[in-house]
C-alpha cells in the first residue's frame, strides 16, 4: 500500500498522498515498463558504456604504440623523410591464408607465405630506417608488429561495437563486453612488448634462447638455416648440439629447418631432441615453474612444429620438451626474475633427461625456442 496517510509536511506524501491508488498503479506500471520492457535495453546501454570505455583505452594503447614506433624509427633509423605514412601502410598490412579445401601441401604453402611476409616486412622496415643495423632492424620489425597487433585489435573491437550498436544486437554486445577485460589485458601486454622491443630488452618468451645461449657460451658458433646459430658442447659425456635464433635482435628464426639440417648432417647419430620453450601457464600456477613432457615444444602457426615432427618420425628420434610456465602477458613483456632464474633449473632438467634417456657418446640436439630479443650468443 502506498502512504495515503502521510504527514502533511512530508515530501512524498504531499506529492502522492492525494493520488492514492492511482499513484500505486502508476508506480507498478512504471516498474514493469522499466524492468521488463526496457530492462534489456538498459542493460545493453550499460554494456555499451563499458565497451565504449574499453575502446577508448584500446585507442590510447594503439596511439602510444604508434608514437613509440615513430619515435624509435626516427631515433634509430635516421630516416631522411617522415616515416609516418609508411608506418601507417605497414599497420594495415594483412596476410591471406592459402585455400584449405585440398589440405595436401598446405604447410609448404603457409611456410612460403610467411617467408615472403617476413622478408617484405624486414625490407620495408629497413627502407624506413636506413640508419639501423641488422639487429636494430629486427627489433624495429618486432616493434612495428606489436603496433600492428594493437591497431588490429582496436579495429576489430570497434567493428563489433559499431555493428552491435547498428543492429541493436544484445548478443554481439554481451559477448564483446564479456571478452573485453581479457582483450584489454592482452593489449596492455602488447604495449609492454612494444616498449621492450623499442629498447631491445629480453622478453619472457626468450627463456629458450637464454638456456641455449648459456649452453653455447664460449663455444664456436656457426650459422645454419635462416637466422639460427648452432654450437657444440659436452654434457655428461654426451655431444650436445645447442641451437637458438641469432640474437640479440628480435628474432625467432626457423628452428624446424635448423633441426632438419642438423639431423641430416648427423644421420644415425642423433638419439634425442630436447626442446626448451616458454609455455602458457594456467591461472593459479607459479611463473617460472619447469615441467617436462614429450613432443615438439614450439608455438606459432605450426609449420616449424610440423617439420620437426616429420623429421623426428622419419629418423625415429624421440622429442622431449622442457617448458617454463608463464602467462601470456609475461611471455611478451620484459623477462621477470623468476623466469630468468628458471634457466638454471631447465639446464639441470636437461642434464637429468640426458642421463636417463641416452648413453655416453650419443649426440643430442637442444633447441632453445622463442624470441631471442636482447639475448646474444
Amino acid at each position: 500500500m502506498l502512504p495515503v496517510s502521510l504527514h502533511e509536511n512530508d515530501l512524498l506524501g504531499s506529492l502522492f498522498g492525494n493520488l492514492g491508488t492511482i499513484s500505486q498503479l502508476l508506480f507498478t506500471v512504471l516498474f514493469i515498463a522499466l524492468f521488463f520492457g526496457f530492462g534489456q535495453k538498459l542493460q545493453m546501454r550499460q554494456f555499451l558504456w563499458d565497451i565504449d570505455k574499453g575502446l577508448r583505452k584500446l585507442d590510447m594503447f594503439r596511439n602510444s604504440a604508434k608514437d613509440l614506433t615513430l619515435k624509435t624509427v626516427k631515433e634509430i633509423g635516421k630516416p631522411s623523410t617522415d616515416p609516418g605514412p609508411q608506418i601507417n601502410v605497414l599497420m594495415e598490412q594483412f596476410l591471406i591464408s592459402p585455400v584449405d579445401m585440398d589440405p595436401a601441401g598446405i604447410v609448404g604453402k603457409i611456410d612460403h607465405l610467411l617467408d615472403v611476409r617476413d622478408e617484405k616486412f624486414k625490407e620495408d622496415v629497413r627502407r624506413i630506417a636506413p640508419g639501423a643495423d641488422s639487429s636494430q632492424v629486427m627489433n624495429l620489425e618486432n616493434l612495428v608488429e606489436a603496433s600492428w597487433a594493437l591497431n588490429t585489435i582496436y579495429r576489430i573491437i570497434r567493428h563489433f561495437y559499431l555493428m552491435g550498436k547498428k543492429t541493436n544486437s544484445i548478443f554481439i554486445i554481451i559477448q564483446l563486453q564479456a571478452l573485453l577485460p581479457l582483450i584489454i589485458q592482452e593489449a596492455e601486454a602488447y604495449l609492454g612488448a612494444a616498449k621492450a622491443f623499442a629498447e631491445g630488452q629480453p622478453i619472457g618468451d626468450g627463456i629458450g634462447p637464454l638456456v641455449a645461449s648459456r649452453l653455447m657460451k664460449d663455444k664456436e658458433k656457426r650459422k645454419v638455416e635462416k637466422d639460427v646459430v648452432v654450437a657444440e658442447t659436452m654434457m655428461e659425456d654426451r655431444r650436445v648440439i645447442a641451437l637458438k635464433a641469432e640474437g640479440p635482435g628480435g628474432n625467432v628464426g626457423k628452428p624446424g629447418d635448423a633441426i632438419k639440417t642438423i639431423i641430416e648432417e648427423n644421420v644415425g647419430k642423433v638419439t634425442m631432441v630436447v626442446m626448451v620453450d616458454a609455455a602458457v601457464k594456467f591461472e593459479g600456477e607459479n611463473s617460472g615453474e619447469v615441467s617436462e613432457g614429450i613432443g615438439a615444444a614450439i608455438g606459432g602457426i605450426g609449420t616449424e612444429r610440423y617439420k620437426i615432427e616429420q623429421e623426428a618420425t622419419l629418423h625415429k628420434i624421440p622429442v622431449y620438451a622442457v617448458i617454463v610456465k608463464e602467462s601470456l602477458q609475461e611471455a611478451i613483456t620484459p623477462m621477470k626474475k623468476e623466469i630468468m632464474d628458471a634457466g638454471e633449473k631447465v639446464i639441470e632438467r636437461i642434464k637429468s633427461l640426458i642421463l636417463e634417456r641416452s648413453k655416453p657418446g650419443d649426440t643430442i640436439i637442444v633447441a632453445g625456442i622463442g624470441n631471442t630479443i636482447g639475448i646474444g650468443q
Partner: protein, 128 residues
C-alpha cells in the same frame, strides 16, 4: 583515421548521477529517521535510500573495474654484470644497447677477466 570514434562522456554522466543519488539517499534516509513518519512512510523512504545507495555502490564498483584494467605501470629493467674470472657482480639499470652476453671490457676488480652482462630482468610491478 577517418572512421567514427566511439562516443565519450558516459563515465562523467554516471559520476554526476551517482553524486546526485548519494545526495538523494542521504536526504531520504534523513527524512526516514526523523521519527515524524508512520511505518509505511519510513519503509518507503528507506526503500528509496537503499535504491539510491545501491546505484552509487554499483557505479563505484564499475568505475573501480575500469581503473584496474586500464592502468599500465612501466617496469624497471635491470642488467646483471658479472666477471668471468672473479666474484665481481653488479646490478645496474638497463641501458639502451645492453644484451645478454654483451662484453663490457675488463673487470675493474681483478683486471684479468672480462665483464659481461649475465642476465637482464625485471622485478615487475608490485602485486595488487
Amino acid at each position: 583515421m577517418s572512421q567514427p570514434k566511439p562516443r565519450s562522456g558516459s563515465s562523467l554522466i554516471i559520476t554526476i548521477l551517482a553524486a546526485v543519488m548519494a545526495v538523494v539517499g542521504l536526504y531520504t534516509i534523513g527524512i526516514a529517521l526523523n521519527g515524524n513518519l508512520d511505518p509505511t512512510g519510513q519503509i518507503l523512504y528507506f526503500s528509496i535510500a537503499v535504491l539510491a545507495f545501491a546505484f552509487v555502490f554499483l557505479s563505484f564498483t564499475r568505475m573501480r573495474r575500469g581503473i584496474r584494467i586500464g592502468a599500465y605501470t612501466p617496469v624497471k629493467v635491470l642488467s646483471i654484470v658479472k666477471c668471468g674470472q672473479c666474484s665481481f657482480k653488479q646490478i645496474k639499470n638497463f641501458a639502451l644497447g645492453d644484451f645478454v652476453f654483451k662484453t663490457l671490457g675488463k673487470c675493474t676488480q681483478c683486471n684479468v677477466g672480462d665483464l659481461s652482462i649475465n642476465g637482464i630482468y625485471t622485478e615487475g610491478p608490485p602485486k595488487k
